[in-house]
Symmetry: C2
Subunit: 390 residues, 2 copies
């Protein structure tokens, strides 16, 4: 088990230099990550709400201890595997933020029996009935948040939909612990810039607070009003009525977030270290050993103003080459080229190491089973494991 | 260690039914896989060439033993990790089919010291010089194939480029074991139908054979003439002059291969089992617990005649629902909808299990650490582990 307090105060000694790593591998720039965490934590504190970081991006206890307010959480997860893994490390206050199905309630009950305060999420009467029925069958009281929809992005019941109150009543009267409401402004990933993101944050807040008010007006409990996405967390001006905020990708940031102007390129803490393995000079191609297996197939910047291909190429220090991107990927090959078809760029000889900033930190990290933690002087401070699966 | 001969003769007893699995998870339809393997092996035999299956798709010894001609190979791999993992299981004849870099030669030499006949691939004088230099430094004779380019897809030297002979001479005179030439018709993934794929296969053969002839005419050894891609392997009519064929994705097949008409939808042996977790009825959305984490972000059918979104939806038996696809994905959410915006489809209640056929078997399999091996009667026969990383 990783000790929360020991880690928070530890200073790592370098164990290697970047040049000794086998490629491709995943680099985590620790000073940048620390700045990203400090920035959002200061914001959340100013806004006067609780912070429930989403651990789906990092899937690593070493990162989690740097995100959490205390050794027991609170945290958000996207799979029961995450809940189980973090619970094994002592985390106790966990929100599983994906709609629950009957087939997963046994595992949820097992976590609760082991002392984990696991909250579930749902948005339908079918789910509420399943939770109530399974609660009686297993003798386990499930804690539940009702998911509300603030932007038509994905899941959630509309705040004015009478189903919201029906679900609340079914849960409350059925013996579940109705904890409140949660929403996620997933649509904010498509709206760049301060004005749009400030509006998205206010809409997210407004929907959550109105839903909570509706439940309370019906005499139902609603202690938690939970909102969050990395873009809205960074642009919310006022969170009156909200009790906690969730965010995940901010810990590393990525090119999509930079394209939304939530962060700068220099804030991106995650990259893939790759080696030049060949050239097709007449085409302007430099071929590296990072393909989609190392980068993921995420093309999140394809619909943004600046399309970054499969990633932005930096030198070994982490300084971006102007307009040099990963243009194509196969399984273990990546093709670097200038953003413009005919553009020229510095020669990168065989064996050159480059860092590739990813479109989407969650997707690229998920392709790797460990982080090589580096400082600003190209030194490897530690290797942190990460897990995957369900 | 997994015994080649024991596995080849084993009959598995069912261990569970599909309905008991936690979702999302990766299903492997064993009878379909067996048919896919038998079909290509029969073709290869008719064509009178050797078979060097590519293990990058499966990354599993359990699948490898079903693909290989014998317990020691031959096989193809895409990473040194694959070479090391399969070598630990007794495989001895391994082609590492991604361009070698100086920084990977120590690991390659270590495999050769441990009795593995590892062949490397390169396409430049810089690489040839690095191999020769490292060979002298480590006292290890590297076996090398020169990669030639048959369709401008990615790597390789052109057969008429004098660099081909320069590389051959540098290797041969420098003490490396020059094994021959290899090429990969990666461009065949973009050309559907029998006529185009037969042509692509003939071009692949022609380039490999001409390159081999050029080396031999210069007095250089060229015992191996290696070609291969799943599409060309299935459409080559004549392979005169070729000594071996490589192919990988055929073992599972996928929607991209079906779109190229290399296989039928009914041949696809891999799918993701997912559970319905919610609905947005007014939008025609059914939400499942398989997002990009379970499916990958691969959109390989986006440029084909029939775009399959992130996957084609089947019932629990594996029968496709007409025109029902995975239209959008987030990390752990997938949105099922009719191919046409307003199209209707059968109601899939909360908890319904569906199978989702993937665009790209290599990419989807890579998101999972195990296969749930099933038969045609929805019974789970075994769980096979797969590995990842470099």
């Amino acid at each position: 088990m990783i000790c929360f307090y020991a880690i928070m105060s530890a200073r790592a000694e370098p164990i290697a230099s970047l040049e000794t790593l086998q490629t491709p591998c995943l680099l985590l720039d620790e000073p940048r990550m620390a700045r990203n965490i400090a920035r959002l934590k200061a914001r959340v504190q100013r806004l006067g709400v609780g912070f429930r970081p989403h651990l789906k991006t990092a899937k690593s206890m070493e990162v989690a201890v740097r995100l959490m307010d205390g050794p027991q959480g609170p945290v958000t997860v996207s799979t029961l595997k995450e809940a189980e893994q973090f619970a094994a490390e002592g985390v106790r206050d966990i929100l599983y933020a994906v709609g629950i199905t009957p087939g997963k309630l046994e595992r949820a009950a097992s976590l609760r029996r082991n002392g984990v305060d696991l909250s579930l999420v749902l948005d339908s009467m079918e789910q509420a009935r399943a939770v109530v029925a399974k609660s009686k069958e297993l003798g386990s009281v499930f804690a539940v948040l009702i998911e509300v929809d603030c932007d038509g992005h994905r899941s959630g019941v509309k705040p004015e939909d009478p189903t919201l109150l029906s679900i609340g009543r079914a849960l409350h009267e059925g013996g579940a612990s109705l904890r409140g409401v949660m929403t996620h402004a997933g649509g904010s990933y498509d709206t760049p810039g301060e004005t749009a993101l400030t509006l998205a944050a206010e809409r997210e807040r407004d929907v959550a607070v109105r839903s909570a008010a509706a439940l309370r007006a019906a005499g139902l409990p609603c202690p938690i009003v939970s909102v969050g996405s990395t873009p809205t967390a960074h642009f919310a001006r006022d969170l009156t009525g909200v009790t906690e905020i969730r965010a995940g990708v901010f810990v590393f940031f990525d090119l999509v977030m930079a394209g939304l102007r939530v962060c700068a390129i220099e804030d991106i803490a995650i990259s893939v270290l790759a080696t030049v393995i060949g050239h097709q000079h007449e085409k302007g191609w430099t071929i590296v050993d990072a393909g989609w297996m190392a980068m993921s197939r995420d093309r999140g910047t394809a619909t943004q103003v600046q399309d970054q291909g499969y990633g932005l190429i930096c030198d070994i220090e982490g300084n971006p080459y102007p307009d040099l991107i990963l243009k194509q990927v196969n399984q273990e090959h990546g093709i670097i080229g200038h953003r413009d078809a005919a553009g020229e760029y510095p020669r990168l000889p065989l064996g050159t190491l480059v860092r590739i900033l990813p479109n989407h930190a969650c997707a690229t990290s998920a392709q790797h089973d460990r982080y090589q933690v580096v400082d600003e002087r190209r030194r490897v401070l530690a290797t942190w494991s990460r897990f995957s699966g369900w």
